[in-house]
């Protein structure tokens, strides 16, 4: 259903060539701008909703951010810069608009291994039977990560930003990005190992 929608959008797109799209956008073509908006809107909405629970605020912020890039289109370098710029400005804007509504913790929380093990054994067992068991475990473990670690993971693996871009989007230094990623990997490894050990034991038992 989702895929159908994307195919529909892809067929709607007027500009199939990135540089043509880029030129048209720079020259003030609203259709080209819409195409750029459509390319990034769902990723931005998803990212924004993880940063703030106030979804109307997120929508307002996204609107402001796109108006801003329209005004500043002459100063933007390329399509990839737009994506980076959108994420960075959206995060700033949300932080400014409602500091308190942000679910982002200001401190780097210690890894909470207890939390990762909370799902019941029954639930794990039923999920283990499916083909995507490992994916489910990993998914739950990522959900349970402290906010900053999860944000770094999402920016690195889903949104495909470099560590340097992540640093600038999150407003932290380069080394903190690597630290956040490493803590996250450590937490994920713990959860994966633990779950598979439990599973092995259970399987051996039966």
């Amino acid at each position: 259903m989702l895929n159908d929608w994307y195919y529909f959008l892809a067929n709607l797109s007027t500009y199939h060539n990135e540089s043509v799209l880029w030129d048209a956008f720079r020259q003030g073509d609203i259709e080209a701008f819409e195409q750029i908006y459509r390319t990034h809107s769902s990723a931005l909405l998803g990212y924004g909703k993880r940063l703030s629970t106030d979804h109307d605020l997120v929508k307002d912020a996204i609107q402001d951010v796109f108006i801003e890039i329209w005004k500043r289109r002459e100063n933007l370098r390329d399509l990839h810069t737009i994506k980076f710029y959108l994420f960075r400005v959206l995060r700033n804007r949300l932080t400014n608009l409602q500091q308190k509504a942000l679910t982002v913790s200001t401190e780097e929380a210690p890894i909470d291994e207890e939390l990762l093990l909370t799902p019941s054994i029954e639930l794990i067992l039923t999920e283990e039977e499916t083909l995507t068991d490992q994916q489910h475990r990993l998914q739950r473990a990522i959900e349970a990560l402290p906010n900053r670690q999860r944000e770094a993971i999402m920016l690195a693996f889903f949104h495909n930003f470099s560590n340097d871009e992540i640093a600038r989007i999150m407003g932290i230094n380069h080394q903190s990005v690597i630290n956040n990623l490493n803590r996250a990997f450590a937490a994920l490894r713990v959860s994966l190992t633990d779950f598979s050990l439990i599973l092995c034991m259970l399987l051996n038992y039966f």
Binding site: S42, I67, F157, F185
Partner: protein, 377 residues
């Protein structure tokens, strides 16, 4: 990556590794193949790291959740409405979709730009319609947004056009252009003196109308001196090649403007064309060191910098373009730049420099202001 014995996580935390796994290109493939050749013992770790990148990518995609087209549409409608409103305000109070009106406004404004303060036109009224036909032909379906920059200061002013072309407008000069530079050529009208650093685009010639002289280029740098009170229009080329035509020739054969060839009088670097408006004669000369000092001072910065402090690079820019560069944070000047600045316009070079040292640049009055976090000395 220099040391040996990395963990799987070290690879996964590395941006370049992730980039290679998710969208390999020639450079990254070469790099990681070389790494594997030199560290065969890391082969298994790299394989596991690749696997982890794929897994994390799949899982985060699922976590990102599903799109909400209705919500996205609603936001777009709001954005669209705001843009259209903003766009209409500065240039026309009338509602949108008035291409016909837009076209006439363009003709009128273009004529005004040349005629203003120019009693000379009144003496030769027969040339006036030619300007009109010309601009009429160039009008396109998108309504142009006419922008006029007038330098009333005593210093040169830096103007950047949509395509990255850079113009240094001298005092008492006026530049008029369509903000979007849409259509099949980029056209500007000059009254006064300006130095043009034109962004390369062989499909869209850049054309300067200055009094009765038309200058056409595909991407280069040159100076035009065409003060409305002066008898002569002078075009001095600093790099690349340009062609110049008397306005009358263009009226006779307008296709010369759109062709991607340079016809008319073709000038090479340090050559000059002088058009005498009184007897409508175009002569090719060499620039004069005294009278053309301003034009000759422009020397596009074209060095290949190797770890040079940015402070020095900006000094070169100040010297070459006569524009002061100010740092909002002195530490930016410490950053070192390794970049090839032989190609491109001033604006494009500033973009490259600033991207490299993570800074931003902006034009404030007659200065270029550079801001950023900076570097340790």
């Amino acid at each position: 990556m220099k040391e040996k014995n990395y963990r799987r996580e070290d690879f996964v935390a590395d941006s370049y590794f992730r980039q290679w796994v998710k969208s390999p290109d020639e450079a990254s493939s070469k790099y990681w193949q070389l790494f594997l050749d030199q560290h065969p013992e890391q082969g298994e770790t790299v394989r596991q790291a690749t696997d982890l990148v794929h897994k994390l990518s799949e899982v985060t995609t699922r976590l990102a959740g599903t799109a909400n087209p209705a919500e996205e549409d609603a936001i777009w409608q709001a954005i669209h409405q705001q843009i259209v409103q903003n766009q209409e305000e500065p240039h026309s109070p009338e509602p949108v979709a008035r291409p016909v009106w837009g076209r006439f406004r363009w003709v009128a404004a273009a004529s005004v730009a040349v005629v203003a303060g120019l009693s000379w036109w009144l003496l030769y009224p027969d040339t006036a319609p030619s300007q009109q036909t010309l601009t009429h032909q160039s009008a396109t379906s998108t309504p142009p947004q006419l922008v006029e920059k007038v330098n009333t200061t005593q210093q040169p002013v830096f103007v950047v056009l949509t395509d990255g072309s850079s113009v240094i407008l001298q005092k008492n000069s006026r530049l008029t252009y369509d903000k979007t530079l849409s259509g099949n050529r980029r056209e500007v009208t000059l009254d006064g003196e300006a130095y043009f650093d034109v962004a390369k685009d062989s499909h869209k010639p850049f054309i300067v109308y200055a009094n009765d002289l038309v200058t056409k280029v595909l991407g280069t740098s040159f100076n035009v001196r065409a003060y409305s009170g002066a008898k002569d229009v002078v075009v001095t080329v600093r790099s690349g090649r340009v062609s110049v035509f008397p306005q009358a020739d263009i009226t006779r054969a307008p296709e010369q403007l759109t062709s991607d060839k340079l016809t008319g009088m073709v000038l090479s670097p340090n050559e000059q064309a002088v058009y005498s408006r009184t007897d409508a004669r175009l002569v090719q000369t060499k620039p004069n060191e005294t009278s053309d000092a301003k034009a000759l001072a422009f020397q596009p910065v074209n060095a290949d910098y190797q770890a040079v402090p940015v402070r020095e690079v900006f000094k070169d820019i100040e010297r070459s373009y006569g524009l002061p560069v100010v740092f909002s944070n002195q530490a930016v000047g410490n950053c070192r730049l390794t970049a090839d600045l032989r190609e491109g316009t001033l604006a494009q070079k500033l973009d490259i420099i600033c991207a490299t040292v993570e800074a931003n640049w902006d034009i404030q009055a007659t200065q270029i202001v550079v801001s950023g976090r900076g570097c340790h000395p």
